[in-house]
Amino acid sequence: MLDRTKAPAINPVELIHFVAPERIEVGSITELLWVKEVDDEAVKIDFIFNAGKLRDKKIVAELTGELLLSGTPEMTSTEFNEAIDALGGFVNIEVGSEDATVSIYGLTTTIAELIPIVMDAIINADFSQKEFDQQLQTLKQGFLIAQEKVSTIARRAFVEKLLGNTDYGRLTQLEDFSSVDRTILVDFHAAYYLKGLMKICVVGNIEPAIIEELVQRAKYLSAEEEHSFDYPFETKPACVYVKKDGAVQTAIRVGRILFNRKHEDYIAFSVLNTIFGGYFGSRLMSNIREDKGYTYGIGSGVAQFRESGYFFISTEVGKDVADAALAEIKKEMERLATEVIHVEELERVRSYSIGKLLKGSDGPFAMMDRYLAVERFGMDLSHYDEVIQTIRTITPERLQELAKKYLVWEDMIVVKAG
């Protein structure tokens, strides 16, 4: 008879294979990265431009990105969309703080035709008044809808307190929608797209000739200089409450300025973060969701910037238990500093984290992301050996030390909205 109370033997993960993409020079600081080990027809190409929201008013960067593929003097936006759709392709644009990414999704059989259509649209984008007006309206509607959410209200208040003295802290205001016009976008496009291509990332099993042609086309867009990401990051602890009538839940954000991957404590702190709020079995989830039932979900993390980063906790809880939830968050934070973590819990986090790393390195798309996550900070894949080493060897004492240093309730910005 099978003894079901006994767990099957568990074997540790021995080795994780990290494969660097092939690197091809495009311009003086622009590169093409290529992962070609794809076992089906899927092809994804990302063009990363130095055209993030730090470069101008947030709304200017967003609108320029959104309108990038909305027509040229030769081709209306509908004609462009027809051409992409006819090939079964998809395009997407993401405008982040530090950069903007244009993505093409296609198949090995169609990608060679998709590339020139998209690149032509990027290069010759003309930001017609009609397209501008339509996009502004869409963006404004999205803005107004988001403003109704307690999660957005809390995030904005948090960002304002945390990053208000840097360009990362710029928030879009309703007035911005009436102060922007198409000529501002034309200038932004010229400065940050036509001379702003930083990187091309290709995942796909395609012919080298296609890559070669892509490199030739992309040369003209290559960035000539890196822009600055340096700002005076510092946390001034604060408590903010934003009232929202009729809300049945309260959104909570807690956090502080911290650091990014380049910092010597980053990897170790990531382990501490996993324990605190970084996975389903975390202290925050176990207490505030699985014991108290205050929320559908709660988590913590480290958001990274090029020259800094911040730690945050994020949740939405029942309106009547918001203060009780905050008290528990504080208690859990203090518990990490006052009590040494139990070996059994640490072992679980070690195994979980290594498994997560293995899963996050599975397949060509994941491998590209893995590479970019370190390359962005001037590191290479050997960084992950250090990650694995730290996860395997970090001690309870070291984790407690880090909690005492970085997870101090009095250092935090605390925001409630609801």
Partner: protein, 411 residues
């Protein structure tokens, strides 16, 4: 082409295996043939609440997630109106840990009152977070009962209201488990760099001794053919007016499902679709407009939805939507327009089947439809659809008496 092997245990559990030598991970996906449509109309939201309880410990193992995390894995699940699907992913050499955990909760749960009380609160917070505390969050709570008068699709998976979740008892929980959580009502798929013989013996070891229980055959009230145009307008404190149209269409495995899917693409998938070009680009009436199918297993809905531009009346949008519909009923679309949508379906399929988790889920779903190999036949089915069939479908379903329309007026 997704290769797979299939075998069935003596207790009725259907098992699929997909071998992928390129990944170090393994996936264990378990689909239970139970969804919100199987609920008692007076106890809705139950299939989903139950999904939460499946993580609250099983008969021999007090904690589900801990042992999986110790094996380097993680897990999650989702509930729809039609199915409940659980998945674990972990390093392939620890496969047995997932089989141990999944088989024990198929055998029986711990049924602790602590788990029920906590998950009841968690689900109520989920209800608030997703349906009540968001602009437009309650759309489906309002729209479903308009479109469905008899069929249990009239309620959302979260349930009709919070009271039903508040009133759930341990007795209900146990009865639900007994009725639906049995080997013959489940489909298991294992994917990873593993050998068939090993998978067979490991599955037999952990699942083989679970007793076989006959599941009563599903007999749901089917939705009678709609006979009237159903119109409803609600007022909400939202930034923009919004509109929702639902046309009854064939269920997922019924004749005409794929044709209707392509018809919805012609109407409103992407920026070059008919509705988008006319109402957004040419007439400036809407900030967004889409058409899509819900993918329901029983009689489903082809939806058109979107949001009005500032200062535009919904009545004006309504006229233009019906104008586009009438055009589709008059002339067949060109073969180029048809091919465009078939090509998009093809790309979407390649990307949506990336990775072993997506493959395992899709295999289970197709097995539920009758044959896991259906996953490999879909592309060809789309390829064969002609503009004439789409035109016939448009004439068959795109009319007022088959339509439910809801407006949200911003106040």
């Amino acid at each position: 082409m997704i290769h797979f092997e299939k075998f069935t245990l003596a207790n009725g559990l259907r098992v699929l295996f997909h071998r992928d030598p390129t990944t170090p991970m393994a996936v264990v996906n378990t689909l239970y043939d139970v969804g919100a449509r199987d609920e008692d109309p007076n106890r809705t939201g139950f299939a989903h609440l139950f999904e939460h309880l499946m993580f609250g410990g099983s008969v021999n193992i007090p904690d589900f997630d801990g042992p999986l995390q110790r094996a380097g894995g993680e897990s999650n699940a989702f509930t729809s109106n039609d199915i409940t699907n659980y998945y674990d992913s972990l390093p392939a050499h620890n496969l047995e840990t997932a089989l141990w955990l999944e088989s024990d909760r198929m055998l029986s749960l711990a049924f602790t009152s602590q788990s029920l009380e906590v998950q009841r609160s968690v689900v109520i917070e989920e209800f608030k977070q997703r349906y009540l505390n968001q602009p437009y969050g309650d759309v489906w709570l309002e729209f479903r009962p308009l479109a469905y008068k008899e069929h249990p699709y009239q309620w959302a998976t979260i349930g009709k209201n919070i009271q039903h979740i508040e009133e759930a008892t341990m007795e209900d929980v146990k009865a639900f488990f007994k009725r639906f959580y049995t080997p013959s009502n489940a489909i298991l798929c294992i994917a990873g760099n593993l050998e068939l013989d090993y998978v067979k013996s490991a599955v037999e070891k952990w699942f083989g001794e679970i007793p076989s229980v006959q599941v009563p055959k599903r007999s749901l009230v089917q939705e009678p053919v709609q006979q009237e145009y159903r119109i409803k307008t609600i007022e909400r404190k939202v930034p923009s007016d919004a509109f929702y149209y639902g046309f009854k269409m064939p269920g997922r495995t019924e004749e005409g499902y794929y044709t209707t899917d392509l018809l919805s693409d012609v109407m409103g998938r992407g920026q070059s679709s008919r509705l988008c070009v006319r109402l957004k680009k040419e007439l400036d009436l809407v900030a967004e407009i889409n058409a899509y199918v819900m993918g329901s297993h029983d009689t489903g809905l082809l939806m058109i939805s979107g949001k009005a531009n500032e200062g535009v009346e919904l009545e004006q949008i309504d006229i233009e939507i019906w104008r586009v519909i009438e055009e589709l009923k008059v002339a067949e679309i060109s073969s180029a327009e048809n091919q465009k949508n078939v090509n998009k379906v093809r790309t979407t399929k390649v990307f949506s089947e990336q990775g072993i988790l997506n493959k395992a889920m899709a295999l289970c779903l197709h097995e539920l439809f009758g044959d896991a190999n259906g996953i490999n036949l879909e592309s060809e089915l789309y390829d064969q659809i002609t503009p004439k069939e789409i035109w016939e479908k448009a004439n068959g379903i795109l009319h007022e008496k088959n339509c439910s329309r809801m407006f949200i007026k911003a106040v």
